[in-house]
């Protein structure tokens, strides 16, 4: 493979490409801020993210990060604090996919929107931050990458300056974000205090060497605060409160972007930190308890809150927002299982879920974007009988809904049932509780997802609704997402393999 010849820093290419694209767009913006050359801007963004995707895929297939004995290249650490391994590449791929979809979709969504270039550059910047999060393996880099992802996101959510909803969403997102990052940093400081290190590997070394003895409660509090930071990023309880409002108020593509990519990024740092920095056994020695308990609780609470709150929503976008909280709960199972052996299976399942989620959830939000583009309204009733007028898009929506519900023949089935399988495979009481919660919640989710299907397919169309156009970009993005959601059912093998391998490598 040609990867050998490349200089090490090139390993970060997926993230760098994003950054470069962002800068390019900045430059363009500063030259002609009022430009509305949509195809150029969207094209650049899409091209950038696709390139990043391509490179990431190439690297991971080329074997970057796989242990060398398997003929892989082993992980590459170009800079102290940034590592490129299977885990990183996997999530870079997820981020890139979502970014590409969002960029393409925005092409139509941003018709007659004032500042187009800044929008795309912010998106790319956030994407860069998320890719960085995937690679960060020191609390410093993690924090920086996290902020790099967050700050543009705040702006993006509020970017519709004259739309009260958008602004309100931005405000809430920002305020809670600021609070959370404060807590997060404080957590970092405590961990640093307890161990004297910010580099994950060193932290682990100190903990295992017993160098932090006596600072148990300090470390415990720190870990808990870190968890808070992740919970915020992944929209998990109790830091989820921003999510429904932010997703509802934000421009739909941004909701898609945040609920899919940003969530995935949040999970990758969580995986990274808790697999590398806090070896379960040693940490338990120190802080007196197995921190996965926290995730067990969070998982159950999060999926329950998300699904229950989603069940009776009238606003489609808000329903999706809550459902994305619920899915965060599902993915948390991956973290909750880390203690036991066989944990890599569950963590892998969680990673698979995040990838599939990147397609189905993005697609779902993009359909909302389409609906907003059509201006048909936001509630379920407004969606009634859309299939009569837009069969293809609605077919895609049906795919997304059932896939989110985890009903075959869609990819969502695999990841959800693998999570379920994994939870059971651990076999501990806690995990059984989680599995039980999963059953109850998925029953409920079935109810509200099929509500949307019912609206578009079963209900009679609203009489007073004009003709609906077929915006190229949105349609393209939605259809690609749908096709992938279906195709991944058959082609799930490689993904499952990649995910489990990455998880195994991370846990090793």
């Amino acid at each position: 493979m040609a990867v050998f010849q490349l200089p090490e820093w090139m390993a970060l290419a997926p993230a760098l490409i994003m950054a470069v694209t962002a800068l390019a767009l900045f430059v363009f913006d500063s030259i002609s801020p009022r430009s509305t050359n949509r195809s150029l801007l969207a094209g650049t963004a899409a091209a950038g993210s696709l390139a990043s995707l391509a490179v990431a895929v190439w690297f991971s297939t080329a074997g970057v990060g796989t242990p060398t004995i398997d003929g892989g290249l082993g992980e590459i650490e170009p800079i102290h604090g940034l590592v490129v391994d299977q885990l990183a590449l996997y999530f870079m791929i997820v981020v890139a996919i979502v970014t590409a979809l969002v960029a393409v979709a925005s092409y139509d969504y941003l018709v007659d929107h004032a500042y187009q270039a800044e929008y795309y550059s912010l998106v790319m910047l956030a994407a860069t931050g998320m890719s960085m999060m995937a690679a960060a393996n020191s609390l410093v880099t993690i924090f920086i990458a996290l902020e790099l992802a967050s700050l543009p996101s705040y702006a993006l959510v509020a970017i519709l300056k004259d739309n009260r909803g958008s602004v309100e969403a931005g405000l809430k997102y920002f305020l809670i974000g600021a609070l959370s990052s404060a807590i997060f940093v404080y957590g970092i400081s405590l961990v640093y205090g307890a161990t004297g290190h910010l580099y994950l590997a060193d932290i682990a070394a100190v903990i295992e060497a017993g160098g932090a003895d006596g600072y148990g409660s300090l470390l415990g509090l720190g870990i808990l605060m870190l968890i808070g930071g992740f919970a915020y990023k992944t929209a998990s309880a109790p830091f989820h409160f921003w999510a429904p409002d932010a997703y509802e108020g934000a421009p739909a593509p941004i909701s898609a972007f945040l609920s899919s990519a940003s969530k995935a990024a949040g999970f990758v740092i969580a995986f990274r930190v808790f697999t590398e920095a806090f070896p379960v056994a040693a940490t338990q020695e120190l802080i007196g308890l197995d921190w996965t308990i926290a995730f067990v609780i969070l998982a159950i609470v999060t999926m329950t809150i998300g699904n229950f709150a989603a069940a009776t929503q009238n606003n489609v976008k808000r329903m999706l927002a809550y459902s994305s909280i619920g899915h965060a709960g599902y993915a948390l199972i991956g973290l909750a299982a880390l203690s036991a052996d066989g944990g890599e299976l569950v963590m892998g399942a969680a990673m698979m879920h995040l990838l599939v989620y990147g397609f189905m959830n993005t697609g779902a939000f993009l359909f909302v974007a389409l609906a907003e583009h059509w201006d048909v309204g936001r509630t379920f009733e407004d969606y009634n009988g859309l299939s009569a007028q837009a069969p293809v898009a609605c077919a895609a929506l049906v795919v997304f809904m059932f896939s989110l519900a985890g009903v075959p023949p869609f990819a969502g089935f695999w990841s959800k049932y693998f999570l379920f399988t994994g939870a059971i495979s651990i076999g501990s009481t806690a995990m059984l509780a989680v599995a039980a919660a999963l059953v109850v919640n998925s029953a409920l989710s079935l109810y509200y997802y099929s509500r949307l299907v019912k609206a578009v397919l079963i209900e009679d169309p609203l009489a007073d609704r004009g003709a609906l156009d077929q915006p190229t970009g949105l349609y393209a993005a939605i259809i690609v997402a749908a096709v992938m959601t279906v195709a991944l059912l058959a082609g799930f093998g490689p993904i499952a393999e990649a995910a489990t391998d990455a998880a195994a490598a991370a846990l090793a």
Binding site: F239, F241, G288, I293, A309
Partner: protein, 679 residues
């Protein structure tokens, strides 16, 4: 189809009518006489073949052949056999040959009669009618020559279906469908026990064959001899239980108490159907089945005693009800029930020959009476109330005299056929009864029934044919054609002479060999080993006593029954053979209402259906909708309620979010802290 000589055509006996069924169903519309022709030819063919079989059996041959294996499989039967075949086979021995002839003969005559009764009256839906007749004949014949219990059961059910369809032939009325439903349901109730019996026997002995060494009869015999335990009972008891279960079907089909209620209602069907199905053949199926597996019952005195008692009781019970009916067909219906009671009595006391003998005679004279009634109904322009008739004697002589012949036979007046068979039954009952009190009771009831029989029979005859016409319909009757007369005459002759088949009393008194039927059934010409009168005789556990010498006993028995029959007829003559008969209701007093309403048997069964079953069903339904389904819906509404509560957390005020966030965080901290013992 393996077989020897004429026997290789045996299956055709049943298949001809089946073909007729298909033809009539498909092409009936386009055929002259709407498919009657097909039916007549088919049944005639069956008759010819049956007679051939009869001749062959007379020639000493019998036929027992498996035609087609239905299915087979493993069975964990109690007596060792580890495999079982369920097959369709043909068993032609004296009994079945005789029955085949009876059935096909009556079938032909009824088909012919139908030309006059249905076609001439311009009924609609005739193809359906003839198709169903054909299907019935097929099923009945197949039932008759069935060589195993399961096959018998299957065609037993099929004749039930045909009976249902034919009773409901006039489906546009309200009464006919209801009667059809009742007929099927009541018999079905009996068949429920029958089916259990079949299953039980098959599961016990691993075979359902009637004849041969591998028959369940033989198996049961050995089991009893070895004193095997079957399903936790000793063999004797188990045989009794299974036998009684099968008897359930018999009681249903042969309209014995308490499952007799359907038969009178079944008169809603065309009279031809009543003649064929509800008098001569299908109702006989039950009794025939008992005769067919008589060896099995012979193993169980208890079962036999019960059969006898039920028979005797039914004979009397039904006869009393027949006394007060106005509808000519109703009278005949109850007399049918009563007569089958006699047959059961006969078989129950081990009078195998007597039972079969009466079965044969009854088939003829009751078919005759029904067809006669049919003729009367034609004459009366479809009026069935006897009180509107009268004085038909001179206007329709053929009908009158044939009907009279049938009546005499029914009443058991010497020398008509009915006398001989009934007398033989009573005689057998008497001699056994002298030893067994239960049987004696049965005998007594049978004897009393003779009086009533004579009474209602001649009440019917006098009201219908004698006295003055009591309606203008009776003034100028509608003429009847040859299609009606031919069958009447044929059967009339048979009713008169059929008795010759077995003049047992004559033999006993004079020693003249006039007991063809007995020797016939005893296999002197030819029989399947083990299915003969004498073979059954050996199995029977009955003691027989006599009053004085055997001759005296015979004379006493015959005398008493004749006396009663005559007195019954006499009373009828006295009361009703007058120009203007009156109902004489008061003479009966309170009993009258009881009899009119059939001892409230129907009310009771209707109450069972509507007063008990339906409320239960409705209650179950309510329970299902409220409790069970309510739970299901309750779960969902609870979750949705919870959902409504949960989403209220999201107040929309960002400060609350921060507060809740911190609260949640602290909550987590406390939980983990306590768990990890930080403080």
């Amino acid at each position: 189809m393996a077989g020897t000589g004429i026997f290789s055509y045996a299956p055709a006996i049943a298949l001809f009518p089946l073909v007729a069924f298909v033809v009539a169903l498909v092409f009936g519309k386009y055929m002259p006489k709407k498919g009657a022709i097909a039916g007549i030819f088919a049944t005639a063919g069956s008759l010819v073949l049956s007679l051939a079989m009869l001749a062959a059996v007379a020639g000493g041959e019998v036929y027992h052949e498996t035609i087609y294996e239905w299915t087979s499989g493993a069975v964990a039967s109690e007596v060792g056999a580890d495999g079982i075949e369920f097959t369709f086979g043909i068993l032609i021995d004296p009994l079945s040959a005789l029955m085949l002839v009876i059935v096909s003969l009556v079938a032909v005559l009824v088909h012919v009669f139908s030309l006059g009764y249905m076609n001439a009256e311009g009924e609609t839906g005739l193809p359906r009618y003839y198709a169903e007749l054909g299907l019935f004949t097929f099923s009945m014949l197949a039932f008759v020559f069935a060589d195993n219990l399961l096959m018998a059961f299957m065609f037993f059910e099929l004749v039930g279906l045909c009976s249902y369809l034919l009773i409901g032939f006039w489906f546009r009325t309200k009464s006919a469908p209801s009667a059809a439903k009742k007929a099927f349901l009541v018999t079905r109730f009996g068949d429920y026990f029958f089916l259990i019996g079949v299953v039980a026997i098959a599961a016990t002995f691993g075979t359902v064959a009637f004849a041969g060494d591998d028959s369940f009869v033989t198996a049961a015999e050995t089991a009893i001899d070895d004193g095997t335990q079957l399903f936790g009972f000793d063999a004797q008891t188990w045989v009794t239980i299974t036998g009684l279960l099968v008897l359930g079907g018999v009681i249903g089909k042969s309209a014995q108490f308490p499952l007799h209620t359907w038969l009178p209602d079944a008169m809603e069907g065309p009279t031809t159907v009543s003649a064929l199905i509800h008098a001569a053949t299908m109702v006989a199926a039950g009794v025939y089945l008992v005769a067919r597996m008589f060896g099995y019952y012979a193993l169980s005195p208890t079962a036999l005693a019960i059969i006898a008692f039920v028979g005797g009781f039914t004979a009397l019970f039904a006869a009393t009800m027949g006394v007060v009916k106005d509808d000519i067909k109703q009278v005949l219906a109850y007399s049918t029930i009563s007569q089958y009671g006699y047959m059961m009595l006969g078989l129950g006391v081990g009078g195998y020959v007597a039972g079969v003998f009466h079965l044969m005679n009854h088939a003829f004279f009751k078919a005759l009476l029904f067809l006669g009634a049919g003729a009367v109904i034609i004459l009366m322009h479809h009026e069935q109330d006897m009180w509107k008739m009268g004085g038909l004697k001179d206007k329709a002589p053929v009908t009158y005299y044939t009907f009279l012949a049938g009546a005499l036979a029914l009443a058991g007046i010497i020398p008509f056929s009915g006398f001989w068979s009934k007398d033989e039954i009573l005689y057998d009952a008497l001699i056994v009864g002298l030893e067994e009190p239960v049987i004696l009771a049965a005998y007594a009831m049978g004897l009393v029934a003779v009086f009533f029989t004579g009474f209602y029979t001649f009440r019917m005859v006098f009201l219908t044919f004698h006295g003055e016409p009591r309606s203008e319909a009776a003034e100028d009757p509608h003429p009847v054609g040859w299609a009606v007369k031919v069958p009447l005459i044929t059967l009339g002759v048979l009713a008169l002479v059929a008795g010759i088949a077995n003049l047992a009393p004559v033999y006993k008194l004079t020693g003249i060999e006039l007991t063809f039927l007995e020797s016939w059934l005893d296999g002197e010409y030819g029989a399947v080993e083990g299915l003969t009168y004498s073979a059954y005789g050996e199995l029977l556990a009955y003691e027989a006593g006599t009053i004085g010498t055997e001759q005296q006993t015979v004379l006493i028995a015959a005398g008493v029954s004749l006396l009663l029959a005559f007195s019954g007829a006499g009373v009828a003559w006295k009361l009703y053979n007058v120009p203007e008969p009156s109902r004489h209701v008061t003479k009966l007093g309170g009993a009258y209402t009881v009899l009119r309403s059939n001892y409230y048997q129907d009310e009771f069964q209707v109450w069972l259906a509507e007063g008990v079953t339906q409320p239960i069903a409705r209650a179950a339904d309510r329970f299902d909708r409220t409790v069970i389904d309510g739970t299901v819906n309750g779960v969902s509404s609870i979750s949705l309620f919870g959902s409504n509560r949960v989403k209220r957390l999201q107040t929309g005020i960002v400060t609350n979010y921060a507060a809740l966030l911190v609260a949640g965080f602290i909550g987590l901290l406390l939980v983990l802290g306590l768990y990890g013992g930080w403080f």
